[in-house]
Amino acid sequence: MSVPAPPDLNERFPCVTCSEFRGDTRLVVPRDDLVALFKFLRDEHHFDLLVDLTCVDYLKYRGAENRFGLIYIVGDSRSAARLTVRTFVNEPDTVVPSVTSLWRGANWLEREVWDLFGITFDGHPDHRRILLPEEFTAHPLRKDYPLQGLGERHNFPTITRGEA
């Protein structure tokens, strides 16, 4: 269930833009205000749950101004209210402050976004890949990564009958 933005949002964060699409409220926040906004939402408006954290690569997307768009969905566990918070980053400075200090559950979500999109989370306690093997070097959900990969899937020794 989506709710309208908190009424005191604009006086506290004048740089946050708020829009609505089919009943879903979306806040777009500059990267530098991200943690402060989440702290405000969590402590003063009881958005105590980070429902999801994901990313979109807008490379070659029609009308897109920024390369990466991060999507945070926060929820209120008492009223089931939800808010979508977005922020945008561009190469080469793809660093976003980590929200693991606010929600412990952001740990693996941020690791997943790092693994697949290569967004660095500043202040993350365990900044490793989560899905792909550690020796993987690319970030495969980026749009400039080829679908069939860069040969990682065939970079293994072959075992023949004699040596098995």
């Binding site: 020794p157 075992i159 004699g162």
Partner: protein, 194 residues
Amino acid sequence: MAEGGFAVAVELPENVVISKLDELASWCRKNSLWPMPFATACCGIELMATGASRHDLARFGAEVFRFSPRQCDLMIVAGRVVMKMLPVLQRIWQQMPEPKWCISMGACASTGGVFDTYCVVQGIDRFIPVDMYVPGCPPRPEQLIQSIIDLQDKIQREGTIGGREFLATQRQAPKRALVELPVLQPANALVRKA
């Protein structure tokens, strides 16, 4: 008795059969294949169905699924193998004692199937030796049973007690599926020969 020949001087009882040791070993091995289920996807469900009562893999002596590779001699790779899983697959294959065989079950294990993406291995035969390929997505249990029957044929035909068929020179011999069918001679050629 002619020079260089020999005859069996001992009279055999009626219930004694003479065979080659190789054939005896192959006969034992082919009828007690112990599969290692490397089931990663929906082919694994068909593999379970094959082992269950309706299709009853026990009729072919291959129902003893062992989850330790040390006790297995037939690896059935059922499902897609991703690049993170492949070192595990190779490790398990190397842990299985000789003699051992491998069935690549389904389109994904054999070729990668529809998953032509960065992380899915395009056919396990690039990295481990495969004896039988089962087409299908997923194959029906009957197809898997047929492949096990064919593998039994292969073991009986090529198997040796010392595993000589796994040597490099033997491996170069064409597999049965690749042997061309005999070309029927035209009738007039027969006539000319006569």
